[in-house]
């Protein structure tokens, strides 16, 4: 679309800008302020420069949390994206079944995050949970408070349960926008199912998939409530992710300087990934418009 150059558009932006600035810029400046100071009490503070950043970057516990975070984010993306596409392809297209399936699938998305943790806690406990008891009956000593592998598997399963619907719904609505004529043409060409998927459905899904991957990546990177309720970050620190490390440091131990520096590093990592994705979206849109124009 050809946009008109008009700086009066700023007036439309202004109310939004004031609100977001109030809740984004002021707090962020506070964080920056803390990150370069050593605060003892309200009146005593020293300028420390980049010291906190160096301390945080060399902290082995945080490095481990960062690695776990990346491992977690990429694992769930690798599971949820193909599964979501698969579910979207299986979902009925019309009739009451379509509505019913839609409502059921959307359900996990609207449950408060700590309740998701509680649901899975109740579901997987060895004494009262259906899954916990079930697996023990099968002869495996399943225990998420003792065994890190079990805790990891459960958290990943929980995230798949919680967030695959988002990918599935995005893909479903992407699929619904493909005109029937495309399928008819494929039928005339006697295209195989795989060819239909690869050359008709998948290209149409790229846009929604970029959105889905973007949303999923950033939310998995900020995950807090679910593992906190389910495992409390344990056993040991095997499921402690970045948000939880940060909250413990900032609220629990009141280490203002280090936690502020950590916040900024954390934010910058997400920002970097965000920038990569943003460029990817913009480029894919540019490709589409040039194709349309040609």
């Amino acid at each position: 679309m050809n946009k008109v150059y008009n700086n009066r558009a700023w007036f439309l932006i202004l109310p939004m800008l004031l609100l977001v600035a109030f809740s984004a810029i002021i707090p962020l400046m506070t964080v920056v302020n803390y990150s370069v100071q050593d605060v003892f009490d309200a009146n005593t503070r020293f300028f420390t420069g980049t010291e906190w950043f160096e301390v945080m970057l060399n902290d082995s516990a945080l490095q481990a949390a960062l690695l776990r975070q990346f491992a977690f984010s990429f694992t769930i993306l690798a599971i949820e994206v193909p599964l979501g596409i698969g579910i979207a392809l299986l979902m009925p297209k019309r009739g009451w079944q379509a509505s019913a399936v839609l409502i059921l699938i959307t359900l996990p998305l609207l449950i408060p995050w700590n309740v998701v943790g509680s649901i899975w806690q109740l579901f997987t406990r060895g004494d009262i949970g259906l899954m916990g008891v079930g697996i023990r009956e099968l002869g495996y000593a399943y225990n998420i408070t003792r065994n890190p592998a079990d805790a990891w598997a459960t958290i990943i399963l929980m995230d798949v349960w919680h967030w695959t619907p988002l990918i599935a719904l995005l893909c479903y609505s992407g699929l619904r926008s493909i005109p029937d004529a495309y399928y008819q043409a494929a039928r005339i060409d006697r295209a195989s199912k795989w060819a239909v998927f690869r050359y008709i459905q998948l290209p149409k899904l790229t846009n929604v998939l970029v959105i889905g991957v973007l949303l999923r990546f950033m939310h998995s990177f900020m995950i807090y409530a679910e593992p906190f309720v389910l495992t409390g970050g344990g056993p040991g620190s095997s499921t402690t992710f970045l948000s939880q490390s940060l909250t413990t440091m900032a609220i629990g131990q009141q280490d203002l300087g280090p936690s502020a520096a950590f916040s900024l590093i954390y934010f910058l990592i997400i920002l970097l990934v965000c920038w990569v994705f943003y460029t990817a979206i913009m480029n894919s849109q540019k490709d589409k418009t040039t194709q349309g124009g040609a």
């Binding site: 439309l12 939004m16 609100l19 349960w161 719904l169 959105i211 900020m222 909250t247």
Partner: protein, 297 residues
């Protein structure tokens, strides 16, 4: 009629579609159809089972939960729900949560609509940078802002009020709303605006009477997302409230006491947090299919 030679392109297309539908019905054998249904059914069972278990436990007494293992409540009881509905500490949690979620939806949508229009229709100084900055707020982990928020809202005297949580959730909800709405608005041709201006509509009148109805499914989807992300958020809402505006999510932590966890009440409270979500999904179910792609297909 079907045997006659079709004359118009429409009738040719219609006949072709009928034939294709008949052939599809024949070729897609019943085994494939059943395989698809079974796979989808397995996934749905996976989705429902944890929720069913929560429901099951919520109708049991604590002694039954801990004493015996059963697939459905043996001694059906609604005592857990009764406890929540009779204790104002409990049910006020739901009122508080709904109050700040609705406030946030109202604030976010009303400032996001004009802003999204500006982004979709105009170029102006710094527009790309501003949009990118907005998206970065969407990515900001709430944990980063925890402490500064607490201090900020405490110093302006908003701590432990609904509006504090509503404003705090604007951090990620306004950028999200703008991002979604911009997609929907860009799919409305610009000629609509131009025609309206030629017809003598002023901008506010055009915006409210013509433009908004055209993107109403987009607005519905946006409200759905605003509800969703404000309703499910725990970290900020818990930090910014103490007693008067405490959300249900943080009241639920009260079920763990010195004598152990009150599983029945925890399960019942959990079930009740799912219900607003079900109501919202039911209302937007017909828009989900189209709207979830956020106008970007």
């Amino acid at each position: 009629m079907t045997s006659s030679v079709p004359t118009t392109p429409e009738s040719v297309r219609q006949q072709a579609a009928e034939v294709a539908a008949r052939r599809r019905k024949r070729t897609r054998s019943t085994t494939t159809r059943w395989r698809r249904r079974t796979l989808l059914g397995l996934y749905l069972v996976f989705v429902i089972l944890p929720i069913y278990w929560l429901l099951n436990l919520s109708f049991q007494t604590n002694s039954e939960i801990l004493g015996s293992f059963s697939f459905w409540p043996q001694n059906f009881t609604i005592a857990n729900y009764a406890r929540i509905f009779t204790d104002s500490n409990w049910y006020m949690g739901y009122v508080n949560s709904l109050a700040y979620v609705l406030m946030n939806m109202l604030i976010s949508i009303s400032v996001a609509l004009p802003a999204a229009y500006a982004f979709s229709r105009f170029r102006f100084i710094g527009d790309k940078h501003l949009f990118f900055w907005l998206l970065t707020n969407l990515m900001a982990p709430p944990a980063v802002f925890l402490l500064p928020y607490f201090q900020l809202y405490y110093s302006v005297g908003l701590f432990d009020t609904h509006i504090a949580v509503a404003l705090a959730h604007c951090l990620f909800n306004i950028p999200l709303a703008i991002w979604i709405l911009e997609g929907f608005m860009s799919s409305v041709p610009k000629e609509v605006d131009e025609t309206a201006y030629i017809d003598g509509y002023s901008f506010p009148r055009f915006f409210v009477t013509i433009f908004l109805p055209m993107i109403r499914s987009g607005i519905g989807v946006t409200l759905f997302f605003l509800f969703m992300f404000s309703w499910v958020e725990l970290l900020l809402s818990r930090t910014l409230t103490a007693t008067n505006a405490q959300p249900i999510a943080s009241i639920m932590t009260r079920t763990s006491t010195a004598s152990g966890i009150d599983w029945g009440t925890l399960a019942a409270a959990g079930v009740l947090t799912i219900i607003p979500g079900v109501v919202v999904v039911y209302f937007v179910r017909n828009h989900i299919a189209k709207g979830f792609a956020l106008g970007r297909t």
